[in-house]
Amino acid sequence: MINWANFISQCFNGLVLGALLALISSGLTIIYGTLGVLNLAHGAMFMLGGYAGWLAYTYTDSFLAAVVAGSLFVMIVGVVIERLIIRHFYARPQEDQLLVTFGLGIVFVETVRFFFGSLSRTVPPPASLVGITHLGFMVYPTYRLALLGIVAVALLLLYFVLYRTRIGMIVRAGIEDSAMVDSLGIDVYKIFMLVFGIGAMAAGFAGIVNAPVVSIAPDVGEAILVQTFVVVVIGGVGSFPGAIIGGLIAGEIISITSMFNPGYSYIMLFVAMTLVLVLRPHGLLGTAARE
């Protein structure tokens, strides 16, 4: 017998998780789409956002400061590693790109562990968003409700940047054919650095706004990275709309399965991924050209 109130609240949890995964996956997917590099340090970027935010919070007691610090710090990290390391890997085999970003992820995780230890940390939500909200048909934690809005706004912002600005147009053109963009006299390296920064920031932002819901620890990014992979495989690598749809699907699968048995959530996620791979090998919204 299904408890309907519980079911609806789990669907909401799925929506929140899905939106968060959509945001992180968008970052991963625009980096891959534009630069051709799958950033295996993306999960670690999520974690770094949480820690940078937490550190800012402990000094300022301001949630807003935490969010700004988390996002900006990870963006800077992204720009710096693109400039110093990733750039030298564009011409190297894909396996080398995977190895180096994998290694960077470990360096990030272990650096955080070195300074802050393995204990988990929490950032409380802002005072105005503490407590629960009565929605008529159910009660729901206020911050989670707000989180849905916050992430939706972030996704809209990303959509606006990608689809309504000059930079976004160049980035989308770069996803289709970066050699062509290069030959149009646009400095692709500058764009690449920016895209890596924005993609990393999406992960960092997600890391800090999620911190009041799930406490942060050095290896919190690992599970997120795996979920993000499933999202982009389902949605189609390099596709921004695909990341959003894939994120929502993955979020709902995890949450609804958890209602019955949390142990099976990954298994269901994997079943969905396999189905997509068999029926639509390039993902729901992906195309062969992007690979």
Partner: protein, 610 residues
């Protein structure tokens, strides 16, 4: 590997394994550390075959390591089964079967997709182990009480219950593992695996079923992982659930990259560095988990600057000092005149196709559309056995598209292709190559990291072995006729003095000749040549035309080229394509004076074509 000293590597390995317990303790290695190094090294051998040799970067090896270990430990602790070795072998077998199933899913895709799918799969195994199957695997407690192996030889009972006796047990299995792996990488399958790593497209075009070989490598890696997992449980007396964690996959990968991928011994060296640093930082410096940060930094630096890891660096250094002396002799031989007509090419192999009179190749109504654009429309084309046909046409006439359809690299939108009386329209490029139809590419498609000899061997293997054969333990040297075919092809394309050079060191003209040599080494009865003269110097063109004439004996050829003087000298009949259609067909003399052809090329200006 040196052919003159066939078992050198094996002997050195055996000696090192025997000496290790006497030497390593002085360097601060504890016996249990040495034992763990052996298990990681063995686990890594399989991973190296998959990643270093085949180029498939899997992040999911923990799934097989854990599966093999858990199956063995379950048999030994929860059932009345008491044969330790048999349990480990069963565990490895189960891991191999699981690898076969998982491989079918993961190998549907390559590159980053493959990496992402293997990560996801490994994570699923972790969760399956902890939840649905926790009644069997002990969940987060693992399976304690795994017995140590005991063998009753009748006159003596061997029991491996101390660290050092366990060492002899593990060292024995590591040795068996390395001997098997060395055989695999020296087998025809091993050669094809390295071809897949370097250029999967060309490996398929040379007649190899690359999916089958990739799956083979995947299963081999899974079996090694499963076996090592079984040994882990036996060594510790306890099967830890951590074997299933993502960290395990990451660790074997990093150890392999640190030690050197594609060397088989890299994982062992990497594991030694890894575990030594871990012990040193934790036990001597008391710095806890800092070692992992240090290793992460070392790993990133190695990936940035030393691509082939520590073993790779040593091998490269050795080659660099060893190969200097040969240089002068080679260049002396090089200047000798080359006369391809003096060398008899390998005959086209009879493949039992119906040798009915009539054309060897026929295309009916061949059409290829890309969206609204028709690259080829309604082409009818026939070539008789033994003929040399030329195809010309302005850029964009659809010549290369036409060739790609004939070799089944792309499927036509409509139309039919008959080769030696068979309908090949829906076949794959590997099958068609096996039937005796292959192509030399307009843009070189070589195996750049391999030697010229290896390149030609891989091509000749397609002819000698068919699309797929599991001769994992057969030596490459024992394939009948292989060496002869390689040397003859090399002589024909004038690369005999370059046989042991890596392709990356060849000059452009040499690479073009090797490109033709690759196609030729498959013993095709119909050879397509896509702009064989492109980018060659005038002297090289003359030589290549002579080469093409000599290989044309006993086989049919179709040649695309823009060099009309050379082409008209070579071919008996010319087909002119324009805008995806056949414009005209005839003997060279007719084509030269044909008004339609002149119009197509010169836009209506009449006169004798150059």
């Amino acid at each position: 590997m040196n052919i003159n000293r066939p078992f050198l590597v094996e002997l050195v390995t055996a000696a090192a394994l025997i000496l290790a317990p006497f030497l390593l303790p002085y360097l601060g290695f504890s016996p249990s550390t040495i034992n763990r190094i052996l298990i990681w090294g063995l686990f890594g051998i399989g991973f190296d075959i998959l990643f270093g040799y085949t180029g498939l970067l899997s992040f999911g090896q923990s799934a097989f390591y854990g599966t093999g270990g858990m199956v063995a430990a379950y048999l030994l602790t929860e059932t009345s089964f008491s044969y330790v070795m048999a349990a480990i072998v069963i565990g490895a077998t189960v891991a191999g079967v699981v690898g076969y199933v998982i491989g079918q899913i993961a190998l549907r895709r390559t590159g980053i997709y493959f990496a992402m799918i293997t990560v996801a799969i490994a994570e699923v195994f972790f969760f399956v182990e902890f939840n649905p199957l926790s009644a069997y695997t002990g969940g987060e407690n693992g399976l304690p009480g795994v017995p140590t192996p005991v063998f009753d030889l009748g006159f003596k009972v061997l029991e491996f219950n101390t660290d050092w006796t366990m060492y002899t047990f593990l060292a024995f299995w590591y040795f068996v593992g390395i001997v098997i792996a060395l055989r695999i990488v020296r087998s025809p399958v091993g050669a094809i695996l390295s071809a897949i790593r370097d250029n999967p497209l060309r490996a398929a075009a040379l007649g190899h079923n690359i999916h089958g070989y990739k799956l083979t490598a995947f299963v081999v890696a899974a079996v090694y992982a499963g076996f090592a997992g079984g040994l882990l449980g036996v060594m510790q007396g306890f099967m830890p659930p951590e074997a299933f964690m993502f960290d395990t996959s990451g660790q074997v990968l990093m150890q392999t990259a640190i030690g050197g991928a594609g060397t088989l011994f890299g994982p062992l060296v990497g594991a030694t560095v890894w575990l030594y640093l871990s012990d040193f930082f934790q036990n001597t410096l008391h710095l806890g988990a800092t070692w992992k940060l240090v290793l992460g930094v070392v790993f990133v630096l190695l990936v940035c600057f030393l691509r082939r890891g520590m073993v790779g660096a040593i091998v490269d250094l050795y080659r660099l000092t060893g190969s200097r002396s040969k240089e002068s002799i080679e260049t002396a031989v090089e200047s000798a005149l080359h006369n391809p007509a003096a060398i008899e090419p390998m005959p086209a192999r009879q493949r039992g196709g119906t040798l009915a009179p009539g054309p060897i190749l026929q295309a009916h109504g061949l059409t290829k559309r890309y969206g609204g654009l028709a690259a080829n429309s309604d082409i009818d084309f026939a070539v008789n056995p033994g003929e040399i046909r030329g195809i010309i046409g302005p850029n964009g006439a659809g010549k290369s598209t036409f060739f790609k359809m004939l070799t089944c690299e792309i499927a036509p939108s409509s139309g039919r292709i008959m080769f030696e009386g068979r309908d090949i329209t829906r076949m794959g490029v590997s099958e068609v190559c096996q039937l005796g139809l292959t192509k030399s590419y307009q843009i070189n498609q070589l195996f750049d990291r391999l030697t010229v000899r290896r390149n030609l061997t891989i091509a000749a293997l397609g002819d000698a072995r068919g699309t797929f054969r599991l001769d994992l333990f057969k030596s490459l040297h024992s394939v009948p006729g292989l060496n002869e075919q390689v040397e003859r092809t090399a002589a024909l394309v004038n690369l005999t003095t370059r046989l042991d050079r890596p392709v990356s060191e060849l000059a452009y003209g040499e690479k073009r000749r090797l490109e033709i040599g690759l196609a030729l080494a498959t013993s095709p009865s119909l050879l397509l040549l896509d702009e064989p003269l492109a980018g060659m110097s005038p002297r090289e063109r003359v030589e290549t035309v002579a080469l093409l004439k000599s290989i044309a004996r006993g086989r049919t050829m179709i040649v695309i080229d823009h060099d009309m003087d050379s082409l008209f000298e070579l071919v008996e009949k010319v087909t002119v394509l324009q805008e995806g259609r056949v414009l005209v067909e005839g003997i060279p003399r007719e084509i030269k004076t044909n008004a339609k052809v002149q119009e197509a090329y010169l836009g209506g200006v009449h006169g004798e074509m150059a």
